[in-house]
């Protein structure tokens, strides 16, 4: 118990004994999971292990049946909805890239910018020089400065993924949840994405859910393996991938 109270002191995200079931199917089974500030964490696990459900719970889309979900040790996330949680500083990238297709790249980023989001504030919003500079900076980071006036619908799959990551950056989150960022990307794009994520993780915590073991090796960070709704193993990529339970459940022989 001593260890838990110690970890609680400095955790950014703290899940303890979280369970949720849908029609008798236990999607999460007393899952406990901690992310520290500034940490980059990878999550692996077979289909149905509860990865997406865990993200749903953190971002307020699903309510857990039991368990504690705390942000920065004090804020109970189970009492907040998506918009509150986003404003607290948790950003989420979906499995399928979700950007505003009928807006330009620039407008996508402008909407994501962490500014007052009320009805009247947005009605009377005018682009300030600081905001302009910030958007240009992000465009630089995601390498899309020359495509800023393009409609998002016309971007390639990989570019949409990046645009979405760029939008999350504009949101200035303290914690970034990224669901399968390299699915459907070319090898070159995958490598570039790894670099991008590592760069982002310098200033904030990032949790990446991914199937691609090569990509995770490239990230070179602590790995958590989920199976059947709870943590199976946690540690370095080499430690986890040699764990007999992980091999049996996920990697296979």
């Amino acid at each position: 118990m001593n260890t838990i109270s110690e970890t609680r002191q400095k955790s950014l995200l703290y899940l303890e004994n979280v369970s949720v079931s849908f029609d008798g199917f236990k999607a999460l089974n007393s899952l406990s999971f901690v992310v520290e500030p500034g940490e980059l964490r990878a999550i692996i696990g077979p289909n149905g292990a509860g990865k997406t459900t865990m993200m749903d719970i953190i971002t307020g889309k699903t309510r857990p049946d039991t368990g504690t979900v705390l942000f920065e040790d004090t804020i109970d996330l189970t009492r907040q909805d998506e918009a509150d949680i986003a404003q607290l500083g948790i950003g989420r990238k979906f499995q399928k890239p979700t950007v505003f297709e009928s807006h330009t790249v620039w407008d996508n980023l402008e909407l994501a910018l962490n500014r007052s989001r009320g009805v009247f504030a947005t009605l009377f919003y005018t682009l300030s020089p600081e905001d302009k500079a910030r958007i240009e900076e992000i465009l630089e980071t995601i390498r899309m400065i020359h495509r800023k006036d393009e409609y998002a619908a016309n971007l390639s799959h990989g570019q949409k993924q990046w645009l979405e990551i760029g939008m999350l950056l504009a949101q200035e989150p303290k914690l970034l949840l990224v669901d399968e960022p390299v699915a459907g990307m070319t090898d070159a794009e995958t490598a570039e994405t790894a670099v991008l994520l590592k760069e982002i993780a310098k200033t904030r915590s990032v949790v990446v859910v991914e199937h691609d073991m090569g990509f995770i090796r490239e990230l070179g960070v602590k790995v958590t393996c989920l199976a059947e709704g709870s943590v199976l193993a946690e540690g370095s990529i080499d430690f986890v991938s040699n764990d007999p339970k992980v091999i049996e459940n996920y990697l296979g022989r």
Partner: protein
């Protein structure tokens, strides 16, 4: 409706009564012919007395004359003041002897005068006719006669009733006659004790009518009986309360079964396939018109089959609406999968076209769809009344529900259908021809809506707007019950029906319906996926 039916039964009684003439001719002495002829000069008051005397003859042959009188078909010849039953025959009347029923030649329309009739006389006639047939050898006729007396009791029938009771051997008929006697006795000049006994008898029979009878009679009764009447009414009311609830549940179930019928096709097209079919109501309407056409053909070519018309209309309606549904799916809807709001608009367009087509062919007015004999009439169950048509519609809607459930769960088509709706790509890669499954599923849903139309043609006006009145209710039922869940549709339909009927007495029909709509709107806010929602991992985006 009821009166028409009643008269029809009477006509039958009369025919059978005539087959065995002069059985009951033993009554009082006056000659019926001269009594009838006296009607020509009588005012309403005198006519009432004459009818009483006619009833006292106990001569069942007089029933047609009385019937004609109440229908306004009794005339007297100006030349000799003789009274006849007159039937219009071109510019003349065909005259029929009111006692023997023999033809008495024709007379020009201006040679005869109609004998005037009013509603209070009609009531007297009805009770007289009841009395006249109490002694019929036919059990059914006697039962009907006892009912008739019960409905319009009169002290004049009392002696006749007592004679009939003493001769009666059939238990049910006798019971009815005893009840009729008790009711008639209240308005007679019999002793207080006899009346007290009659009140007891009426109390024991109970029912809503009994309360009305007792209340109506209490004013003219001896004051010493007031306590008895009040006690009897209180006792009946407490017994009746339960029956009233039962009757309300029955009305509710009956309305629920109509909602179920209307919604069940939609439970497939909307619930299973996710198609917002605004033309669903028009499928119901097409089913009703199919029934109309089938009945027209039967009336023209094989009137004997009329009682079978609904049975014949069922497959016809299913095929017609199924085919129309198939064409709609292939022609419009298949291009719009995944765009539900567009589907809504396009099918609305289809519904306008179907309505106008029917309006152009059959005209905008209501079409007369007949009830087969087995759908008519009613029977009592304790203190409540159950009509046959509602009874059949409930049975019918439940059997369609069961049949559909079996098709969905047991047949290979049902299996394909569920496979396609759950995972289209997987189903198609397993060799299921998904476009055909879509088309036939939609045709099935439409066909069932058509069948529903056959049943609804029996209780609703068949007009081009028929479908419009069901479409919103149908969607409410499916959404309330939970999309994609047939059982939800059943429970949704029945509970909405019952709720509606329980609200009706206190707030009125229209306000009740508004309240139900508002409640559903609020309910959907609380549980957007309906009563029986399928839970699952939150779907992304």
């Amino acid at each position: 409706m009821m009166i028409k039916f009643f008269l029809r039964v009477f006509f039958l009684c009369v025919v059978s009564a005539l087959a065995l003439p002069s059985y009951a001719q033993s009554g009082a002495g006056a000659d019926p012919r001269s009594l009838i002829d006296a009607l020509s000069k009588a005012d309403f008051g005198e006519a009432e007395k004459l009818i009483g005397q006619l009833a006292a003859t106990g001569d069942a042959r007089l029933v047609p004359a009385l019937n004609a009188f109440s229908e306004g078909d009794l005339y007297f010849r100006k030349s000799d003041n003789l009274v006849f039953i007159g039937k219009s025959a071109g510019s003349n009347y065909e005259l029929i002897d009111p006692v023997t029923g023999a033809s008495a030649g024709q007379a020009a329309k201006n040679a005869v005068t109609k004998i005037k009739i009013n509603n209070s006389l009609r009531r007297v006639i009805r009770s007289a006719m009841g009395g006249l047939t109490l002694l019929s050898p036919d059990r059914g006729v006697r039962l009907q006669a006892a009912d008739a007396v019960l409905r319009s009791p009169s002290a004049e029938n009392l002696e006749l009733l007592e004679t009939a009771i003493s001769k009666e051997t059939d238990g049910e008929v006798k019971a009815r006659m005893v009840e009729a006697r008790a009711v008639s006795l209240l308005s007679s000049d019999r002793s207080v004790d006899e009346k007290r006994a009659a009140i007891q008898t009426i109390k024991n029979y109970g029912g809503r009518n009994a309360i009305g009878i007792l209340m109506g009679a209490s004013a003219s009764l001896d004051p010493s009986l007031k306590a008895d009447v009040d006690a009897a009414i209180a006792s009946i009311e407490s017994g009746q309360r339960l029956w009233d609830i039962g009757q309300n549940v029955w009305y509710g179930v009956s309305l629920g079964s109509v909602l179920l019928l209307a919604a069940i096709g939609l439970a497939i097209t909307f619930g299973v396939m996710g198609i917002i079919n605004m033309a669903h109501g028009e499928m119901v309407m097409l089913g009703a018109y199919s029934t109309f056409v089938v009945q027209q053909v039967i009336r023209d070519s094989a009137p004997g089959l009329f009682d079978w018309s609904l049975a014949i209309a069922l497959p016809v309606a299913f095929l017609v609406t199924g085919a129309v549904g198939f064409v709609i799916e292939r022609g419009v809807i298949r291009f719009l999968y995944g765009r539900p709001l567009e589907t809504l608009l396009a099918t609305w367009g289809v519904s306008l076209i179907l309505q106008q087509t029917i309006r152009s062919i059959f005209g905008p007015t209501n079409q007369e769809v007949g009830n087969p004999s087995w759908m008519s009439g009613s029977f009592p169950v304790g203190g409540m009344t159950i009509t046959w048509n509602r009874m059949w519609i409930i049975a019918f809607s439940l059997s369609i529900f069961v049949a559909l459930l079996v098709v969905m769960k047991k047949s290979s088509f049902g299996l394909n259908m569920r496979a396609v709706t759950q995972n289209r790509r997987m189903a198609s890669s397993m060799g299921i021809k998904t476009p055909w499954v879509d088309a036939f599923t939609f045709a099935l849903g439409s066909g069932i809506a058509g069948i529903a139309g056959v049943a609804l043609s029996q209780i609703d006006n068949v007009s081009p707007n028929l479908g419009q009145s069901y479409i919103i209710d149908s969607f409410m039922v499916v959404v309330f019950g939970g999309v994609g869940n047939l059982w939800g549709t059943l429970v949704g339909a029945l509970s909405l029906g019952v709720l509606n009927k329980f609200l009706e007495p206190s707030v009125g029909a229209v306000l009740g319906k508004i309240l139900v709509l508002v409640l559903i709107i609020l309910f959907i806010q609380k549980r957007p996926r309906g009563l029986f929602a399928l839970k699952g991992r939150a779907v992304e985006a």
